[in-house]
């Protein structure tokens, strides 16, 4: 916002309330109501306004209080923002960012817990970014705002409260990350684990435990779901020969499905075992804390699957019967 006067933030509670999750704290005071705009409760309304503003040269950042609410505005995101550059043959560009928390939080129920990564990542014309660490958040958000294409920026409510060590380079005002590059958070040689958002933390925890048992896991923080960094993923799989994908969202047509397809297409001969997908349970998120816990992947699930694999689990179940 300080670098470009055309950038402005718009959404529910972003101004006077300092942000529903305090992400925009202090911005209203610093930049004024012209650039930090509180909206009524109408996603279809303010998303449409944002898209129109982007059509005519401004660079809006539209905040959804959660991406569950983005469904109220999804026609503007998909049919207008994503497709306008193509359908106008380049006459209308849409340099807009849609951001907000995505996926499960804690005890918010089915209509406030869905992960939208797969939905938005399937649409050509959009870019979809998912930060994990503070470095990701800073670097990717800046890249998103500077990008001339519409970007969906999926944050995570629980990660807002987590601290990460950052380098001096990250804190520099010019720091920016490239879009479309995954980060190898931890190098390994026995198995590749891909993850994004909160699941990166879980994968890293699992990797620590696995290391003690002699299994060296390579953890890839995807950072960019669309475009997906297929080359980093495939290079890793060619090195380790095994792949586990981890995501919070529903399993069918999820991110893991796309990664699996990509690896099968490009690195089939390198696989020593079938690709394993870990995803959220195929149910609307239950509210009860104990049920919620088992509906979302946990570190134990990653450990279990890495060591044992789905087929072996099934075999054991069959034997038990």
């Amino acid at each position: 916002m300080s670098a470009d006067p055309k950038v402005f933030l718009m959404g529910e509670e972003v101004g006077e309330y300092q942000g529903a999750y305090k992400i925009s704290k202090g911005l209203l005071e610093k930049y004024g109501p012209d650039r930090v705009v509180d909206t009524p409760i109408t996603e279809a309304g303010f998303t449409g306004i944002g898209v129109g503003a982007a059509y005519y040269g401004l660079r809006p950042v539209i905040e959804f209080m959660t991406f569950n609410f983005s469904m109220q505005a999804i026609d503007h995101i998909i049919n207008s923002a994503a497709k306008s550059n193509y359908m106008s043959a380049g006459q209308i560009s849409v340099p807009i960012v849609f951001r907000g928390p995505n996926g499960a939080a804690a005890g918010v129920g089915a209509q406030h817990s869905q992960c939208y990564a797969a939905w938005y990542a399937s649409c050509p014309g959009l870019k979809v970014l998912v930060p994990y660490s503070s470095e990701d958040a800073r670097g990717l958000l800046k890249a998103a705002i500077r990008d001339p294409d519409p970007v969906v920026f999926l944050e995570n409510e629980l990660l807002y409260g987590e601290s990460f060590p950052v380098s001096a380079e990250t804190l520099d005002s010019s720091f920016c990350l490239p879009i479309g590059k995954a980060k190898i958070e931890r190098e390994g040689k026995d198995v590749t684990i891909t993850a994004f958002s909160k699941m990166v933390g879980y994968a890293l925890q699992a990797a620590d435990i696995l290391a003690k048992e002699g299994i060296s896991a390579e953890v890839i923080n995807l950072r960019s779901i669309r475009p997906l960094d297929r080359s980093t993923i495939n290079a890793s799989v060619r090195k380790t020969n095994r792949l586990i994908t981890v995501e919070e969202g529903f399993p069918q047509h999820g991110i893991g499905a796309e990664i699996c397809a990509s690896v099968l297409e490009d690195s089939f001969e390198y696989l020593d075992a079938p690709v394993e997908r870990i995803a959220g349970a195929d149910v609307p998120m239950p509210y009860a804390a104990n049920l919620e816990r088992i509906s979302v992947p946990q570190v134990e699930d990653i450990l279990q699957l890495t060591k044992v694999g789905r087929r072996l689990i099934c075999k054991k179940t069959n034997e038990a019967e």
Partner: protein, 455 residues
């Protein structure tokens, strides 16, 4: 058909005394040369309930009270702004009113439901009778000969273009078409009343605006045929015109999405500080699905000034849009214009409207209520147009169109690379690979590849 005009209205806009310019009934002529025909009452134009908010500016107590409360969220300040329109005289007795956040509301001991329908429908502003005579007592903005003739010729061109392209679709030469038949006055008069700096967010039945602004018949044909001269590079079906240089946003099929987007465009325009406005168009499909007195009554429901005008009266539409544009630019507020008209043609070439409406109704509006006939009579009476010019024009337009179609049909399609361009600002690697892969497939099956799509 309704037209939204929005200069820009920030969602939470605290009224800035510096830019406030309130319209008094007597002030209507402040920028427009108004033609009086036997004087008239102005009330029909501004609406009976429009009160002067001068009390707001003069009442320093009100102003400072608002300033004191500037920590409150913007939305409640917008409510106060509305409240000060109403006279403070009504609220002397504390027991008669209560302060709610957002304003004062007086009480009543009568349980009275507001009727779902007003006693009278909102009247419709018109200037020309069906016979093309100026109605006594009309106030309207005078149109000079040059503008009037250009308007009429454009309406004729639009009508003939529609007929010929529709036929072309029926002949299988283009895949789709939809006409603006019956709505020519709305298209052309609105376009004439605006400037080329005003940004248009169309629905899809407003090609007349492009026509007015200089889009050629060849350019229309190119888009319908999706050839390599089409500004849309063949990426959309026919009639989805778009042109940045004409300030006409590319047509997008979903209905009414352009309405909130227009507010966003206006917000951006406001930051440019241009003497221009945004005009978004939509029809019944976008608005009138309700059992109300049309769309004009929704204006007050949204706090938006509104007017109902006869959409088949080119002079009335012209005057209304001119006035609305001035209001919007100088007051920085949206205005809603409901232009009543009738869609004479089918919805599109995919529709047979005789299935849901009587044929004689269509005929009636096509002939007796034709906007072209009505305007022609007025232009004719002024001595500005002759029958000879009429037949010459029609013949010439027809010839130009047939030629444009022939040329467009023969022109090559956009080259293969355009299939992958403009998805993003830069071509991503996966599309680069897909294009390569496609070209290899084409090499292997050259005989199956269409001849009019250059590689």
């Amino acid at each position: 058909m309704a037209i939204w005009l929005s200069r820009s209205r920030k969602i939470a806009h605290f009224l800035n005394p510096k830019i406030a310019y309130f319209l008094q009934p007597e002030d209507f002529s402040y920028k427009i040369h108004v033609n009086y025909v036997n004087s008239s009452s102005f009330r029909t134009l501004s609406g009976e309930n429009f009160r002067s908010p001068h009390a707001f500016l003069d009442n320093s107590a009100t102003v400072s009270a608002l300033q004191r409360r500037c920590r409150r969220p913007e939305s409640t300040r917008a409510g106060e702004q509305v409240e000060t329109r109403y006279s403070d005289d009504d609220y002397e007795d504390e027991n008669q009113a209560m302060d709610f956040p957002g304003g004062r509301v007086s009480f009543t001991h009568e349980m009275k439901f507001i009727s779902e329908a007003a006693d009278k429908r909102i009247p419709c502003y018109r200037v020309l009778s069906d016979d093309g005579y100026l109605i006594a007592g009309s106030r309207f903005e005078q149109v000079d000969k040059e503008t009037a003739v250009k308007m009429y010729k454009s309406m004729v061109t639009l009508q003939i273009m529609d007929n010929i392209f529709y036929e072309a679709q029926r002949q299988g030469r283009i895949s789709f078409y939809l006409t603006s038949t019956g709505e020519e006055a709305i298209n052309i008069a609105a376009a004439a009343a605006l400037t080329s700096d005003d940004v248009i967010l169309p629905q899809y039945r407003e090609p007349g605006i492009l026509l007015w602004r200089g889009f050629t018949l060849q350019e229309f044909a190119n888009q319908c045929f999706g050839n390599n001269a089409d500004y849309g590079k063949g990426k959309q079906m026919p009639i989805h015109y778009g042109s940045n240089k004409h300030n006409f946003f590319t047509i997008s099929s979903p209905i009414a999405t352009q309405l909130p987007q227009a507010a966003g465009v206006a917000y951006s325009l406001k930051m440019d500080k241009k003497e221009a406005c945004v005009v978004a168009f939509t029809g019944d499909g976008g608005t009138k699905q309700f059992r109300s007195d049309g769309v004009v009554v929704k204006g007050q429901a949204y706090g938006i000034r509104s007017i109902r005008v006869d959409g088949n009266d080119a002079l009335a539409v012209y005057s209304t849009i001119r006035a609305a544009r001035e209001m919007v630019i100088h007051e920085q507020k949206p205005v809603l214009v409901e232009a009543l008209s009738y869609r004479v043609g089918h919805h599109s070439t995919s529709d047979d409207s005789t299935k849901y409406r009587p044929v004689d109704e269509i005929e009636h509006w096509k002939t007796a209520r034709s906007p072209l006939a009505r305007f022609r009579k007025w232009v004719h009476k002024n001595g500005w147009w002759t029958d000879d010019e009429e037949s010459e024009l029609r013949g010439s337009i027809r010839k130009q169109l047939l030629n444009a179609i022939q040329v467009a049909e023969k022109t090559e399609k956009p080259q293969l690379a355009e299939m992958f361009s403009d998805v993003y600002d830069n071509l991503p690697s996966n599309l680069h690979e897909q294009e390569k892969s496609l070209r290899e497939t084409i090499k292997r099956h050259r005989q199956d590849y269409p001849t009019d799509v250059p590689l």
